[in-house]
Structure formats: C-alpha cells, structure tokens
C-alpha cells in the first residue's frame, strides 16, 4: 500500500470524519493461524465426505433400475450393487440426512469458521480472545459431526429436515455455537484495535445470533430416551417452525456468513476495495430483515393458513432486491481487474460463485410465487435449485477462499496452479451436468403429475411411471457428481502437496496497532427547527436530525453490543410477528372432532417411519389441487395433524404421497412391499426394508414414548398407566399379524417393527371419514384411538 493510501485507511480518514485519533501507544500481537489451518483441513475432509455420500444417494436412485438387469447369458453384472438398496444402515432415507448435514454443517460450517477466524482477527487487529475457546470450538464441532455421522445411519433422528440430530447433540450444538464460538467471537470484537466494524463482521454477528435463535426454538423437544425425543410443536405449527428454521438455515448458514466471506476475501483477491460500501450497509439490513420472513413459501397450498404462506411469498419476492444488490456489489468489486480472471483461479472461483448466487437468488423468489410453486413443489426442481446454490455459491466461494488462503497459511507457493484450474473447470462442468438434467427432471415430474387425458382421467395414474421417466436425468446427475468430486479431490491433493512444502516452523509475524481508547463520542449539536411549544416535539426533531445525519447507525458500527442487539431485534421481530399469530389464533388450526391420537402401536410405527427417514421420499400432504385430489384423495386439513409430533409432510415426492394411505391396500401387500419393493412394483426404486421383519418391537419403549407424548399434551388418558400402552399395542399387533397369516403371509410377526409400521400406514388419513367420538373428549380420545385403529388394522 502506498503512503497516501495508508493514510486514507487510517489517520487521515479519521481526522476527516471527526473521530478522535486512537491511542498512540502501540501494542504488539500475533494472529492465531493454527486454528484457521485446522478448520480449513476439516472443511476439505468433510466436504469430500459430504460429496461422496451425495454421490452414493444419487446412485441409490438409479441402481434399482439396473441391479436386476440380466444379460442374454443369464448373468446379472450389476447385482453386486444390490447392497446399496438393501442394507439397513445405508438406505436413502437414512443417508440423505447425513448428506445434507455433512454438506451444510460440516463442509459449509467449517468453511465459515475458517473465514471467520482468519478475517475477524485481521479486521479487528486482534488475536482471537481465547485460544482455548478456539480449540474447544474446533474439537467440539468435529465431535458433533462425528456424532451425526454415527447416529443418522443408525436411525436416530428427530425427523425434521436439516434438524435431524437428536436432543443431546442439539444441546452440544448450542453449547459449542454460543458458549465457545459466540463468546470467543464477541469477546474478540470487544478487545479489537480497529474502531469501525467492517461489514463482514456484521454478517458474522447476524449469523451467530440468528442461528442460535433458530436452533434453540426449532429444536425444543421432550426427551423420551437418550436418543429419542418428540418436538413440542405439532402439525401445522411444527411445519411453520421447521420451515422458518429450514429456510433460515439457508439464509443464515449458507448465505450471510458467505456474504461476509465475499466482502472480505473478494477485495483481498482482487486487490481492490469493495465496489460500494454504502450498498453493503443497505444490503445487510434489508437482507437480514427480509430473509427471516420467507420460510412459509415452503408450505404453499398445504394446511398452513393462506395468509402465512402469502406473507412468505411476498417477502421472498422482495428478497430479489437485496440479494442482487449484494451480488452486483461483489461482482463489481472486480471493476478494472477483469483481466485477472484469465490468470487467477481464485478470482474465477469467486466470480462463478457469485454468479451462481445471483442465479439462485433469482430462482428462489421465482419458486416462491404460488403459481410456479404449484408446479415445482415436491419435484426435483427444488433439488436442482439448492444444488446450484450449494455447489456453485457455497462450494466455489469456499474453494476460492481455500486457494487464496493455502499459500498464506502454509507459507509457501501453491503446489500447482494448473491443478486448481482443472478443479475449476471440472467443478463448473460438474455443476452444470448436475443441475441442467435435474431441472428437466423436475419440470417433467411436475407436468406428468398434473397431466390429464381427454376423458378427464390422470394421464399417468401409476406413480412409478413418473419415476422411470427420470432415470436418464438421474444418471446424468451421477456423472455431474463424479466430475465435481474429481475436482474436489484434485484440490485435496494440491493442498496436501502444498502442505508438504511448508517450512519446518511457521513464522508468526508480529503485528502492531494502537489500543482503542474507550469510545466517548459526543453527539453533534442540533437545535430544534420547530416552533412547537412542547418538549416532546423538540426532542423528536433533534432525534430525526441525528438519524438523518447517520449518528445512530454510526454508533452501531462501532459498538458490537448494540449491533448484536439490533440484529437480534431485526430477525426476532419478523419471526415473532409471523409465528405468534399462527400459534395464538385458534381459527388458524380448526380442530376436527373425529381426529384422535395414534394408538400405542401406531405411534411405535410412526417412530419407525421417522427413524427410517421415509419423509425424505414420501410426503403426507395433499394439496387442494385437482390433479392431487384425483390421485391421492381428499386434500389435507390442518386439524388432521394436531397430534403429529413431529409433522411428516415432507418436501419431496420420490415416491407417492401417503396422507390417505390408510385402507388403500392390504396388510399383506404392505408386508411384501417392505420385504422387497420390486416384488410388488417391478420398477420401484424404494430400498428393501426386510430388516423390519426381523427387528423386534420393544414394548417398554412403546410405553415410554406414549408417556412422553402425553407430556406434550397428547390426550392419552388411561394409556399412560402402567402396562396399558403395551397391552393395547400387543392386542393390535396380534390382529394385524393374524390378518397377514390368514392372507397367506408369514407368521410370528406380532412383535416385529414391520407390524407397527403397517398399523401406522393403515391409520394415515382415515380419521376424517370416521364419526366423531361420542364420549367426553379426553377419555374418548384414548379409547377411540385404540378401537378405531384396531378396526383399521384388522380390516385390511
């Protein structure tokens, strides 16, 4: 930096703005780059794990179509792949949450921490407040990831998308996030040596505050064991909380911290300040305030009240402006430096990453518009959309940052620029090869689901027809995934070779900066311009003049505590004012008298449904759309879900909706279908659940789960008494097992998990066609639940 430029950046600028020069006594300190190296390594390792699990689940959707392929000579060359669709711990429903959690919280999470720990120290001119907290944060977060990697394939899940981890891990997340990371970060702000908090730090503040709020409120649950819990929310309200959380996980894990990363690392890589710092201020406030409202657009045409989903849509459309404002600000940072793109892979990754951000944030509001969403919802269109954002925006920004950091952190030259360029092109082609076919698949699905023939009947009444049509696109996705992973592997190799060339001992340059003196800013003197004779009016006018002068906001930029509080107000006000009316106003969830709690056996079956992650492929929500009611039956009502802790509406239909599955097929059909789906539907891509025919149901556990449900308000009445729940479950299981045996199926299923799951499926969507119970509400509910469902179970 030239002398003149340095002056602009420090003393001269402060003199111009009237801020007191800081203390002249210089303090010496070093930055903790060891922690940045650790987080960067974790980013690469978990990134590869997350991508590979993604490839595995992509393969699981195509393997069933080839595993039974037989050549003319009678051999089955792909039979060896059968384990991917028949192994209990590797089913799609169990691995898909592992993939999403690994990519969002392990890959992107560690990338965020890499960026935060590197940039915060430099922007604050201070070492992280506590090296111990930094290390606790690092190892705590990696421990959480390992816990997730172990529990999710074992079927321990809360059954809420991107919030699957069970309650002890949730508690650990809160401790590590706020107790270690948050405390360390905020204390570093407090001891900083640079008065102005650069805009990247604002985005980090909003991230930490909001993620804590989202995580704690959405994860509230009653434990029913060490690795089992039930959400305190039910049905419509749980759906609202979940997608408030789910969409804002996108906002405050995959967007705001990456914008902070962009605002710090793009100027570094381009060797230019951000295009417009003014725009970044407007970008920050409008983005965090508007984003928080957008969640309900995930629930259009569901049982959520229309006002809530319309509100979500309107705010989503408004998001176009701040998102594109930020994207343009990032891209124009390269003004006058575009020629560097030809030579610098870091800038190439950044530019393509920001371009994907702008594409995704154009498409997101588009998908939130109700008429578009009617076609896109539950289809692969959403999957293409999120992968454009995750691979393009989060992935490429992270890769760019890593290539920029590696030589600086390892204090040597990057091993191979050529390999970085290969990574860029493989990654770009991989993303395109993934998203383009999946867009086509999504739109094809949506159109096939709603197609009618000339007679007014569904043109594709057999759901599996709409699945087999997509196989070529699913194969193309596998190819795209392979290219993307190949690129990431090249990066890992490149980093390994760079690390091997590191010096024997890393240098730790000593920095110098003056300490900040306590902030004593006197407000500019304003006089009231009014002639009014009330003190209130004069004060109001002076307040307005201060606001117009930027006095209040300038205070926020220099006082971390105020910035934290106002960021929290911005996100909490939107949240509360959207959520509270839904919870508080009775008319939002009209009750239905004939809807009663699940019987103990059905509840146990529901637990199996949740543990197997069935919601990853099957929805339980029929929208009031002609093609849906024609295919699945009467549309879903809010009152049908009041005992659903957690809700299981799902967000995608790889298989058909199950909201009205009860009574559609016999118990034996379900049993054979679980044993080997292709035995019932030749072209099915569902995994085999033969293990459920062997796994025993723990009746003691059933009773514990009923009591936990009763604690969160489900009126189980007599069922909570000792032995009642188990007795009811045994009786209902015997009826179903007898029915299967008499129909020609296997015997001895009375104590097997599959029987509970069948009981649950046979109950789904049947309540509204029953007469309301005549007995007083609570007693009637428990008795009614037992008898009605028993009748269901026996009747098929």
């Amino acid at each position: 930096m030239s002398t003149a430029e340095a002056a602009v950046g420090t003393g001269e600028a402060r003199a111009q703005t009237g801020v007191r020069p800081e203390s002249t006594s210089m303090e010496r300190f070093t930055y903790d780059d060891a922690i940045v190296r650790k987080f960067m390594l974790a980013t690469v390792v978990w990134g590869l794990v997350g991508f590979v699990v993604g490839l595995v689940i992509a393969l699981q959707l195509v393997i069933p179509s080839v595993v039974n392929y037989t050549t003319a000579s009678g051999s089955r060359p792909f039979a060896f792949l059968g384990f991917l669709v028949s192994t209990e711990f590797l089913t799609f429903g169990r691995l898909r949450p592992l993939h999403t959690n690994a990519v969002i919280f392990a890959f992107a999470g560690n990338a965020i921490f890499t960026a935060v720990y590197y940039s915060t120290q430099r922007l604050c001119k201070a070492r992280m407040w506590s090296d111990t907290l930094s290390r606790l944060h690092f190892w705590g977060w990696q421990f959480i990831i390992v816990c997730a990697a172990l529990t999710l394939p074992l079927g321990f899940t809360q059954g809420k998308e991107y919030a699957e981890l069970e309650w002890p891990i949730d508690v650990l997340i809160a401790v590590v996030w706020l107790g270690f990371f948050g405390t360390n970060f905020f204390m570093t702000l407090k001891v900083r040596r640079e008065r102005h908090m650069y805009v990247a730090l604002w985005f980090y503040i909003a991230t930490i505050v909001t993620v804590a709020m989202l995580h704690v409120l959405n994860s509230l649950a009653i434990p029913a064991g060490w690795l089992k819990s039930y959400s305190v929310y039910a049905g419509v309200q749980d759906a609202m909380m979940q997608w408030w959380y789910g969409h804002n996980a996108v906002a405050f894990v995959l967007t705001t911290p990456f914008l902070g990363l962009m605002y710090y690392f793009m100027p570094k890589a381009a060797e230019r300040p951000v295009y417009s710092y003014r725009l970044s201020i407007v970008h920050f406030w409008s983005l965090i305030f508007v984003y928080i409202w957008a969640g309900p657009h995930h629930l259009h045409y569901t049982a959520l009240p229309a006002w809530a989903s319309t509100l979500g849509m309107l705010f989503s459309v408004m998001l176009w402006m701040p998102s594109w404002g930020g994207g343009i600000n990032g891209l124009l940072t390269l003004r006058g430096a575009w020629h560097k793109l030809t030579d610098d892979p870091v800038l190439r990754f950044f530019v393509v990453g920001v371009t994907f951000y702008m594409m995704s944030t154009f498409e997101g509001p588009l998908l939130s518009i109700k008429t578009v969403n009617m076609l896109s919802h539950y289809t692969d269109w959403t999957i293409a959309h999120v992968h454009g954002g995750a691979l393009g925006w989060n992935g490429f920004l992270t890769f760019g940052m890593i290539y920029w950091l590696a030589p600086r952190l390892f204090q040597t030259r990057l091993h191979s620029k050529k390999l970085a360029e290969w990574h860029f092109w493989l990654g770009t082609l991989g993303i395109l090869m993934y998203v383009v076919p999946i867009y086509i698949a999504g739109i094809t699905q949506g159109l096939m689901w709603r197609a009618f023939d000339k007679s007014g009947s569904l043109q594709f009444p057999d759901f599996v027809e709409t699945v087999t049509k997509l196989m070529p696109f699913y194969w193309a996705r596998v190819g795209g995934g392979v290219l993307f992973i190949l690129g990431a592997t090249l990066m890992a190799y490149n980093l390994l070779r760079t690390w091997m060339a590191r010096p024997a001992v890393y240098e730790e340059p000593v920095q110098e900066a003056p300490a900040l003196r306590p902030l004593v800013e006197t407000p500019p003197k304003f006089k009231s311009r009014l002639e009014a004779n009330t003190e209130f009016s004069h004060k109001g006018d002076i307040w307005l003049q201060k606001a117009a002068d930027g006095w209040w906001h300038r205070l926020l930029e220099r006082r971390p505590a105020k910035m934290i509080v106002w960021s929290l107000i911005a996100v909490a006000s939107g949240s509360l004012l959207e959520i509270v009316p839904l919870f508080a106003i009775r008319s939002n969830v009209p009750s239905i008298a004939s809807v009663t709690p699940y019987t103990p056996l059905e509840l146990a079956g529901r637990d199996v449904y949740v543990a197997e992650g069935c919601y990853n492929c099957h929805s339980q929500m029929i929208r009031p759309i002609w093609s849906e009611t024609k295919r699945y039956g009467d549309y879903s009502k809010p009152g049908e879900f009041v005992y659903d802790h957690p809700f299981q509406w799902g967000s995608r239909r790889i298989g058909p909706d199950l909201a009205r599955e009860g009574g559609q097929r016999s118990n034996l059909w379900h049993l054979l279908h679980f044993q080997d789906p292709r035995q019932s539907i030749t072209q099915s891509i569902m995994p085999s659940y033969a293990h459920l025919l062997e796994s025993r149901l723990d009746m003691g556990e059933v009773a514990r789960h009923v009591r936990a449900q009763a604690m969160i308000g489900v009126p189980y009445g007599e069922m909570v008494k000792e032995g009642k729940a188990a007795e009811s479950a045994r009786a209902q299981a015997k009826q179903i097992a007898d029915d299967i045996a008499t129909s020609g199926g296997p015997t001895g299923l009375e104590d097997k998990k599959v029987t509970a799951l069948i009981a649950y499926l046979q109950r789904l969507g049947t309540d509204i066609s029953k007469p309301p119970p005549a007995a007083p509400a609570e007693a009637g509910a428990s008795e009614g639940a037992g008898t009605a469902a028993s009748a269901d179970g026996a009747g098929h």
Binding site: G9, Y198, A200, P267, K268, Y277, R278, A584, R586
Partner: protein, 69 residues
C-alpha cells in the same frame, strides 16, 4: 376462557403489517446513513479495512476518487 380465545380477540393478524412498517423505517434509516454526503470519506476508509497492511493495486483509491468527481 383460554389464552387462545383472548389472543384470537386481539386482532394480532395485523402485526405483520406493523413489522413491515418497522422494516421500512429501518431500511430508510440505512439508506439515509449510506447516502449522506458526509459519510463518503468514512465509507471509503471503511471499505479499505480488508486491505489494510496488504498490497493493493496501484492508484486504486485515486482512480475511485477521480471517477466520482
């Protein structure tokens, strides 16, 4: 009478509109802060913070000032 009955009678559904008003106020405040003439030098200094102590393209700051004249 239950709490939900009381809440139902309070007309809370209007509150999202109140929040919208709050947002507009904050938004206008941020725009005002960002666009005040006095803020220019502060903003220029703040924008340079990531580059403090780093090499920067020669003449970059001067070029920006020139472009604004």
């Amino acid at each position: 009478m239950k709490l939900s009955d009381v809440m139902s009678g309070l007309g809370l559904a209007i509150y999202p509109i109140a929040a919208m008003g709050l947002f507009l106020a904050v938004y206008i405040g941020a725009v005002v802060r960002a666009t005040r003439r006095r803020a220019r030098s502060e903003m220029d200094a703040a924008a340079l913070l990531p580059l403090d102590g780093e090499r920067m393209a020669a003449g970059c700051v001067e070029a920006r000032k020139e472009a604004r004249r």
